[in-house]
């Protein structure tokens, strides 16, 4: 069988080569004309970048389909104006008067222990400008947005029931009849 395989393989390469004279003439003509062998584009060099670009386009298309309006996770909505740290953490620059109560900076919205966000209300901005002795550069206009103050929680008041214990009936003492000895001695006899 190896011989048959070799025979078929031999036939696959047994093609008549091109005409000797014509071939030689073509080669020498190309040499004289300064022709250079073509540099063919390798399929992998062309198809690989195309496939990579297609994958990127498809990924972007799918990402946009999943809600272009919804914010991406990890990003913050709205703008946060950063007040200088001195306003949020340190006491006011101006020393309070002796008779005035000490005013502590407002607690952060998330309570202590969370990220300390600066108080960006208009009052805070004005206090900051007053402390610095400059006119506030930006006045926060009252916006038309409805108040975001949280409505007080409506909680039902608990009815106060009496927790006094009921007085138990006094225990009736159990009277035990005295033992009659005479009957016992008569029985033993």
């Amino acid at each position: 069988m190896n011989d048959r395989i070799d025979d078929v393989a031999r036939q696959m390469t047994k093609s008549e080569p091109p005409d000797e004279v014509a071939f030689r003439r073509r080669v020498l003509e190309r040499i004289d004309s300064g022709d250079a062998p073509p540099r063919p584009w390798r399929a992998s060099f062309v198809l690989t970048p195309i496939a990579a670009a297609a994958a990127i386009v498809i990924t972007l298309f799918v990402a946009r389909q999943h809600g272009p309006g919804s914010p991406a996770p990890g990003t913050m909505t709205g703008s946060v104006t950063q007040a200088p740290p001195s306003e949020t953490l340190a006491p006011r620059a101006s020393a309070p008067a002796a008779d005035e109560p000490v005013r502590l900076p407002p607690s952060p919205p998330g309570g202590y222990g969370g990220t300390s966000k600066p108080d960006t209300t208009n009052a805070a901005m004005q206090r900051l400008a007053a402390a610095r002795g400059v006119a506030p550069t930006s006045q926060l206009e009252p916006n038309d947005v409805a108040s975001i103050a949280v409505a007080p929680l409506a909680v039902d008041t608990l009815s106060q029931e009496s927790i006094q214990l009921e007085r138990l009936d006094p225990i009736v003492p159990i009277a035990v009849a005295p033992l009659d000895i005479t009957d016992t001695s008569r029985r033993n006899q």
Partner: protein, 201 residues
């Protein structure tokens, strides 16, 4: 004084290369004539298309002429030329146009298949000829289905124009590896034939 004509068959490839470097076009033409068939068959083994093989053979000679000064004579000129030929043929085989053509163009019976059918049909009864033809087609398909490394080694080894050293230089592998690839190609083909029902393989 005109130089005495040199009997071409007595001039070695190395002398022709030296003359070609000095600008003698006839010397290079003689090199083309000597190695045309071997270069063409090597390209045909890689490309399996006579038209592509002829183009690749021309490109190989062109490139060899341009790089003539880099030929150091460590190997024979034929080996050096065959290495260039193989690289040109492989580049053409991997080219975008070639890949596209293989996808778009349906497979048609080529000259080799016609030759196989003709050989099988000579001097045999119709039934035997048909059976032989069928077997040869199966072998032909099995060779085509081989991986490129095994197929190239088998076809070059059976082309008859190249030694194992020359095949090793073309394919960039040691002689032992080439011999193993040829042996492995035969084994894989036998296995595939058995799977197709040619039990007495």
């Amino acid at each position: 004084m005109r130089a005495a004509p040199v009997s071409i068959p007595r001039v070695s490839d190395a002398d022709l290369v030296t003359r070609a470097r000095r600008g003698d076009p006839a010397a290079f033409g003689e090199l083309v004539d000597r190695h045309r068939a071997a270069v063409y068959r090597a390209a045909l083994a890689a490309l399996r298309s006579p038209a592509d093989a002829e183009d690749a053979a021309q490109d190989a000679f062109l490139l060899a002429y341009q790089r003539l000064n880099s030929f150091r004579g460590e190997a024979s000129f034929k080996t050096w030329l065959l290495t260039i030929t193989w690289h040109q043929a492989i580049n053409r085989r991997r080219s975008l146009a070639s890949v596209w053509r293989r996808i778009v163009t349906p497979k048609t019976e080529d000259e080799a298949e016609a030759a196989i059918a003709g050989i099988a049909a000579s001097g045999l009864s119709p039934e035997d000829a048909a059976a032989q033809d069928q077997l040869r087609r199966a072998i032909h398909d099995a060779i085509r289905a081989l991986t490129p490394k095994l197929r190239d080694a088998l076809l070059l080894a059976q082309a008859g124009d190249y030694s194992y050293e020359e095949i090793g230089a073309m394919l960039g592998a040691p002689v032992g590896t080439i011999k193993w690839r040829v042996s492995e190609a035969r084994r894989v083909i036998r296995k595939r034939l058995r799977q197709r029902g040619y039990g007495d393989v």
